[in-house]
Homo-oligomer: 345 residues x 2
Amino acid sequence: MAQVLQNKQVLFKGYIDGVPNETDMELKVSKIELNPPPQGSQAILVKNLYLSCDPFMRGRMRDFHGSYIPPFVPGQALEGFGVSKVIHSDNPNYKPGDFITGFTGWEEYSLIRRTEQLRKIHPDDAIPLSFHVGLLGMPGFTAYAGFYEVCSPSKGEYVFVSAASGAVGQLVGQLAKLYGCYVVGSAGSKEKVDLLKNKLGFDEAFNYKEELDLNATLQRYFPQGIDIYFDNVGGDMLDAALLNMRAHGRIAVCGAVSQQSLSKPKGIYNIYNLIIKHIKMEGFLQSDYLHLYPRFLEEVSSYYKQGKIVYIEDMNEGLESGPAAFVGLFHGKNVGKQVIRVAHE
Amino acid sequence: MAQVLQNKQVLFKGYIDGVPNETDMELKVSKIELNPPPQGSQAILVKNLYLSCDPFMRGRMRDFHGSYIPPFVPGQALEGFGVSKVIHSDNPNYKPGDFITGFTGWEEYSLIRRTEQLRKIHPDDAIPLSFHVGLLGMPGFTAYAGFYEVCSPSKGEYVFVSAASGAVGQLVGQLAKLYGCYVVGSAGSKEKVDLLKNKLGFDEAFNYKEELDLNATLQRYFPQGIDIYFDNVGGDMLDAALLNMRAHGRIAVCGAVSQQSLSKPKGIYNIYNLIIKHIKMEGFLQSDYLHLYPRFLEEVSSYYKQGKIVYIEDMNEGLESGPAAFVGLFHGKNVGKQVIRVAHE
């Protein structure tokens, strides 16, 4: 007879405008029967171990169907990247005991029907399991594809990274340093600035909240101008960077976390710099580069094992802490990649 | 003894903000001795036949030294592209009677000291001399380099061109049609829209001044979305185009004529579309592609001679008409490429 267990869930309550609040989500305790998935369903039943908090999830809280990913369904559990352990499987690619990463529910146990985009993890003592939603997951791959493929870097170039201690930025900066670039990062607290300079190896870093005139700030850190701006924030920082780009500069537009909370984003006024300096500004999604994923996994795992890069996580304990952890992203509370530990293996 | 002649000139009076006015320029009649240039100077003395009115000249009227080209000098003649005939030469590359194109003064006769960027014209009865500042000059080459090199077109793609009947836009649209694209243009009058549809071969065209909601307009003309936007205007049209781009679209940022007159440009609010649709937005200057100039001249001359493309000029007679013709650019008065005929050969 099937085992019946409690299944705590974080439910999405309904569509929102502006910054997410904890009250937009609801903790519910359901029950779940740990039955094998129906025969022929190809589904797997998993126990979730780690859940990832990512800014893009905010986009799924709006009632907007024109994006690359559909909105959440009110009344159902949130969905996001996770690391899970297979309990039952109707899929020949996965067997009980396997570790997988990919989209899962914000709950203790999930039935995953769409298994095509899951990735099996081969546990490695040298690499924490949770890194598969960070350094070796979507954020890490975003940094990798964005830096190498969108920024077209050259050795010795001047690189600026915003939200530089975040899930993506911290790897962009380290890859740029390994590539031989000069790297400056911005972040929103003294603690983060210290991490950038002392732990992540950035050449310089500043706290944007203490700067009155971002144009002057960038002039100070880049008297010769910026070759590459890896933009994780949009808004005023993007506008200031446009003024400080060098000829033939490249801007990778990766995120606009400063703008996610605004129903009408702030205007960008310095677009004309694209013309006079021949700047390429390119938005991208890591999903456009999935053919590079195997190479990324190999290279970045190897860098990590060799101690050439580090990766900072902000780990919250328990599914209950999920809503606060997610909301914290939009207030810069997380220091490093925000993860929720749902269960110890 | 040297011949002494009247030399009418259009002088630049002083730095301005906002839209240029005729009163920012001054007509002056000087005298000039048609002496051979000093020996060893490498200079040439020319009689100017055609002068080109180009929006980029507005940038040289500001007291701003950070651009790719220095500002005009108050009290001196304006400078711009022209077609001229050599009268005297101290340069072995040019002899009296040669026709040349390149930077010259807004005056009847000019002493040209910087001859490196001049181009000798080989007169061809099938191609009007004035086309060397239009179809075969900087605007035509801007269209050519921008369309082929920046837009990376594919056959069958949906192309939108703003300021489509202008010096650059009219060629972009025709090149795109020859390439097998579907092409829609915007312009600012019924007359221009008629030209686009009936003479220049655009699939569709609209008068942006009659449209209340540019987003809805573009949705109507591009129900499937835009693959390539060749942006000659910036501002609201760029913002509306961003909303209507397809995934992996490309925006060539060529000009921002709608913004040239504003001391503070309007904001662009839809930059986040770059991310969700993986759009590349690239500013460019034709001068970055000069290695393609010979190929451009050959191909576009050949298209023209075969009747595959046409080119519309707006010809003003006499240097006196220069200031009004130039100012007219910023009010959309010109229909086609604005040229001033200074003298008949």
